[in-house]
C-alpha cells in the first residue's frame, strides 16, 4: 500500500500540465500510450507509401517508375518502417494505455523511463528516414540496396546512409529494451493486491513474454550491426572472408534477433485477440492456462530455430534437420492458440462488430499463413521456396493478420474507451471489408509467382510473371488507400460521436472497463478489489 501512496503523492505534483509540456515531459501512461500510437500511425503511412511504390513499379514488367537502387532502398525502408516504426510502437502504445488499467495500477512502474523510451523513437525515426534520404544529396553516397536483412558484403559497399541506419537501429533497440524493462517491472510489481500472475489478463501475459524476448534478442542485433559498423570504418573483418571473417556469422546474429522478433510482433496482437473474442462471443476465454503455456513455449522454442531463414547457406545435414524439426514443432503451441480461439467462439453468442470481424479474419488468414509456414520449414522444399515470392506471400500472411490486423482490432476495440466516443460502426465495417479484400488480392497471387520461379526483391521480371503481378498491384492499391478510411474513422472518433459507456461492449470483462470512458488523467490511485469474475 505504501508504494501506491507514494506514487499517488507524486502524481499530484505533475497534475494537468498543458500545451507541449504535457506531451514532451509526460510521465502519464495514457499520454505516452497516445504518443506511441500516433507515432506508429505516422510510420504506418510512410511504410505503406513505400510499399505502394514498390507494387506500382511491379505492376508491369520493365522498369517504369524507379531506378533499381531506389527500388531496393524502398524495399529496405518499407520493412524497417513497418517493423520498428509501426508495429512495435503501436504494440507498445497499447501496452502503455492498457496494462496499468488492466492490472489496476496507477501508472507504469518507471514513468520517467517511459517518457525516455518514447522520445528516443522520434530521433530514431528521423535517423531511419535520413538513411533513406541522404543519398539524394550531393556526396550522400549510394542507397541502401540490401533489404532489411543488411547482409554483408553488400552492406559494406553501401555509402553513409548505412551508418545512419545502423545508428537508427541502435536507438530503436535502446527504446525497445527500456520499454520492455518498464513493462516487466510494472507487471511483476504493480498488480492490484490479490491479482496473482495466473489471474492477469492475457494481454499482460503476452507482453510479459514479448518484453523478455526483446531484452534477450535486441542486444544481439545491436552487437551485429556494431560489428558491421566496425567492418565498414575501422578496418576489422568480422564478416569479410578475405580478412579471416565470416559473412554467414552476420546472418546468424541477425536471425537470432530476427526470428524471435517475429513473435515480438505477433504476441501482443494474440493478446488483443484473447480479449476481443471472449467479449464478442460473450463467454470466457477457452484455455487460459494453455494459452499462457503456449505463448511461453512459442517464445522459448522461437529463440532456438533462427537458422530456418538460412537453409541455403550450406549447413550440415545434422544442423538443417535440427532447425527443420524445431521449426515444425512450433506449430504445436501456435496450433493450440488457434484452437483456443476457435473453442472460445464455439457455443458463444457472437455478434460481429468491427473488432470481431478483424478477429475472425485474423484466425482464418493466420491459419493459412501458419500452414504455409510449415511448408517452408521443410528443408528440401524450402530449397525451392527460399528467397522467392512464396516467402513474401507467406510472411505477409502471418505478419499482416498476426500483427497489424490485431493492432487494428485493438484500436477499434479500445478507441471508445480512450476517446469516450463510439467510432462509426458502419464505416468500421466498410473499412474492414475493403482492407481484407485488398490484402488477399495483394498477397494470395504471390504464392503462385514464387512457385513459378519469381525471386523476391527484383525490380524487373520476365513477361511470364505479368498476370499475377498485375493482380497483386491492383490489390495493393486498394489495400493501401483503404487506410485513409482508417485515418478518417480515428479522427472522426476523436472529434466526437455517440458517448461510450464505461463498459462499451456488452460482453466486456476486466478492470479496464470499470473506469470511465474516457478515463480520467489518473486512474486506480486506490487499487481495486479483485473479485474472481474480473479475471480470466
Amino acid at each position: 500500500m505504501s508504494y501506491t501512496n507514494a506514487l499517488h503523492d507524486e502524481a499530484h505534483h505533475h497534475d494537468n500540465p498543458t500545451g507541449w509540456r504535457r506531451w514532451l515531459f509526460s510521465t502519464n501512461h495514457k499520454d505516452i500510450g497516445t504518443l506511441y500510437l500516433l507515432f506508429a500511425l505516422t510510420m504506418l503511412f510512410m511504410g505503406g507509401a513505400s510499399a505502394m511504390l514498390i507494387r506500382a513499379e511491379l505492376f508491369q514488367p520493365g522498369i517504369q517508375l524507379l531506378d533499381p537502387d531506389l527500388y531496393n532502398n524502398l524495399v529496405t525502408n518499407h520493412a524497417l518502417l513497418m517493423i520498428f516504426g509501426a508495429v512495435m510502437p503501436a504494440a507498445a502504445g497499447l501496452a502503455n494505455w492498457m496494462i496499468p488499467l488492466m492490472i489496476g495500477a496507477p501508472d507504469m512502474a518507471l514513468p520517467r523511463m517511459n517518457n525516455l523510451s518514447f522520445w528516443i523513437l522520434p530521433a530514431a525515426g528521423t535517423m531511419l528516414i535520413l538513411s533513406f534520404v541522404v543519398p539524394f544529396f550531393p556526396g550522400g553516397g549510394s542507397q541502401i540496396n540490401t533489404g532489411w536483412t543488411l547482409y554483408p558484403p553488400l552492406s559494406v559497399q553501401v555509402g553513409m546512409s548505412m551508418d545512419f541506419l545502423i545508428f537508427a537501429i541502435h536507438l530503436l533497440g535502446i527504446s525497445s529494451v527500456l520499454a520492455s524493462i518498464n513493462i516487466i517491472v510494472t507487471l511483476l510489481n504493480m498488480r492490484a493486491p490479490g491479482m496473482t500472475l495466473m489471474q492477469m489478463p492475457i494481454f499482460c501475459w503476452t507482453w510479459l513474454v514479448t518484453a523478455f524476448l526483446l531484452i534477450l534478442v535486441v542486444p544481439v542485433l545491436a552487437g551485429g550491426v556494431t560489428m558491421l559498423l566496425f567492418d565498414r570504418h575501422f578496418g576489422t573483418s568480422f564478416f569479410d572472408a578475405a580478412g579471416g571473417g565470416d559473412p554467414v556469422l552476420f546472418q546468424h546474429l541477425f536471425w537470432f534477433f530476427g526470428h524471435p522478433e517475429v513473435y515480438v510482433l505477433l504476441l501482443p496482437s494474440i493478446g488483443v485477440l484473447s480479449h476481443i473474442i471472449p467479449t464478442f462471443a460473450r463467454k470466457p476465454l477457452f484455455g487460459y492456462k494453455s494459452m499462457v503455456g503456449a505463448m511461453i513455449a512459442v517464445g522459448t522454442i522461437g529463440m532456438v530455430v533462427w537458422a530456418h531463414h538460412q537453409y541455403t547457406i550450406g549447413m550440415s545435414l545434422g544442423a538443417v534437420s535440427y532447425f527443420m524439426i524445431g521449426t515444425i514443432i512450433i506449430s504445436i503451441p501456435v496450433g493450440l492458440m488457434i484452437f483456443n480461439f476457435i473453442a472460445t467462439m464455439w457455443r458463444g453468442a457472437m455478434t460481429f462488430e468491427t473488432p470481431m470481424l478483424f478477429a475472425v479474419a485474423i484466425i482464418l488468414m493466420f491459419t493459412f499463413g501458419g500452414l504455409s509456414g510449415v511448408m517452408l520449414a521443410v528443408v528440401p522444399a524450402d530449397m525451392q521456396y527460399h528467397d522467392s515470392m512464396f516467402v513474401v506471400a507467406h510472411f505477409h500472411y502471418v505478419l499482416m493478420p498476426g500483427a497489424v490486423f490485431g493492432l487494428f482490432a485493438g484500436v477499434f476495440y479500445w478507441l471508445p474507451k480512450w476517446t469516450g466516443h463510439m467510432y462509426d460502426e458502419r464505416l468500421g465495417k466498410i473499412f474492414f471489408w475493403i482492407n481484407v479484400t485488398g490484402f488477399n488480392l495483394t498477397f494470395f497471387p504471390q504464392h503462385f509467382l514464387g512457385l513459378a520461379g519469381m525471386p523476391r526483391r527484383i525490380i524487373d521480371y520476365n513477361v511470364m510473371f505479368t498476370e499475377f503481378n498485375a493482380i497483386s498491384s491492383v490489390g495493393a492499391m486498394i489495400f493501401g488507400f483503404s487506410h485513409l478510411l482508417l485515418l478518417y474513422i480515428i479522427i472522426k472518433t476523436i472529434r466526437g460521436g455517440e458517448p461510450a459507456t464505461n463498459r462499451v461492449w456488452e460482453g466486456a470483462k476486466g478492470l479496464e472497463w470499470e473506469v470511465a470512458s474516457p478515463p480520467p488523467f489518473h486512474t486506480w490511485e486506490t487499487p481495486p478489489l479483485i473479485r474472481q469474475e474480473q479475471t480470466s
Binding site: 558484403p153 553488400l154 578475405a242 538443417v320 483456443n340 476457435i342 473453442a343 513459378a452
Partner: protein, 374 residues
Amino acid sequence: MCRRFTTVSRLLLLTAGLAGFQSTQAEYGINFPPPAADVAQEIYDIHMLTMRIATFLLLVVFSFIIYSLYFHRKSRGYQADQNFHNTWFGNWSWVIVPALVLGVDLTIASNADTVLKKVWDVPKDEKLMDVKVTGHQWWWEFDYLDHGIKVESRYIPEEKAGDLYLREVDNRLVLPTDTKIRFLHTSADVLHAFWVPELAFKKDAIPGYVTETWSEINREGVFRGQCAELCGTWHSRMPLVVESVSPEKFQEWVNEQQAIKVATAAEAASTKTWSKNELMTKGKALYETKCAACHQVTGLGLPPAFPPLNGSPIVNGPVEGHLNMVINGKPGTAMQAWGSLNDLEIAAIVTYERNTWDNKAGDTVQPTDVALAR
C-alpha cells in the same frame, strides 16, 4: 461471408489444379515447373505432400469456424455456453490438440527427413563431374573443372531477348544428361544464389565459402532460373539458363570450346603489335559485355555507386593508374579486380575506354604494357 467463400473456392481450385491437371500447371505458372532430375522429383513430391496436408488442415479449420460463425451467433438467439471451458474437453484439450498436431508434424517431418537425406549430401565414392559456379555482380561464371573450360554468362538486353528477357543469357550452362554433376558454389563479391527450379536446388554463393549441390539431369531441354539472393543494383539481371544435352553432344560442345580456348590463348600470346582500330573493335565488344552493366554503354555510369568513365580522371590520366584500377579493382566498392582477363583483353578494354565518348587520351595500350603492369 462472401469473401470467406471465395477464399475457400480459390483454395479448392488451387488444390484441384495442383492435384489433378498437370497440363494446366505449366500454362498458368502456379506451381513448380516439371522436374528434370530425380533430386528435383523428390523435392517436388514432398512439396505436394505438405501442400496437401496443409490444404486439408485448412479446410478442417475453416469448416469449424464457418459452422460456428453461422450457428453460434446472438442474432439466431444462441445462448452462450458459459461452462464450455470447464467440460472434460475443456480440461483436456491442452493435451489432445498438441497430440494431434504432433501427429501431423511427425508425418511431415519424417517424410521430409527421408527426402532430405537423399538430396542433401553429394554422393560419395563416385565419379562426379565438377562445375564450379561463381557469382559475380551481375553475371555467372561456370568453370568446368574436369574439362578446363570457362564460360561467362550474362543477361541479354530486352531488344535482343524479346519475351525471354531476364530468362535468357548469352552463354548457357551446357550440361550432359544422365551424369552425376556436382556444383561448387562460391562468389567473387557479394552473396548470390544459384536457382534453377527444374534441377531443384538453391544454394547461396558466399565469398570465402564453397558450398555444394548435386543433380543428375534426366532429360534434354532448356531450364531457366535466376539469381535468388539480393546482390545489389542489378539483382534482377542475373538469369541462369541450363541447356542439357546428351553426353555425346556434350563432348562435341566441350571439344569446340577447347578449340576456341586454344585459339584465344594463341592470339593473346602472339607478340604482334596491335593497331588502334583492332584494339578499339575488340575493346568495344569486351566493354559492352563486361563493363557496361555498371558503367553503362554510354560511359556515364550510375553515380554515385558506379562512377562515369566518360571524362573520368583515372581514364584520362596516366596509363599505369588506369591499368592498376582494371587489374586490381578497388576494394570496398563494387569495382572488382579484372586480372583474370588476358593481357590482350585488358589492353583492348583500356584502349577503348581511353579513346571513346569524350575521352581523347589518344594512346593505345599493347598487351606487353599490361604484362608489365601486372
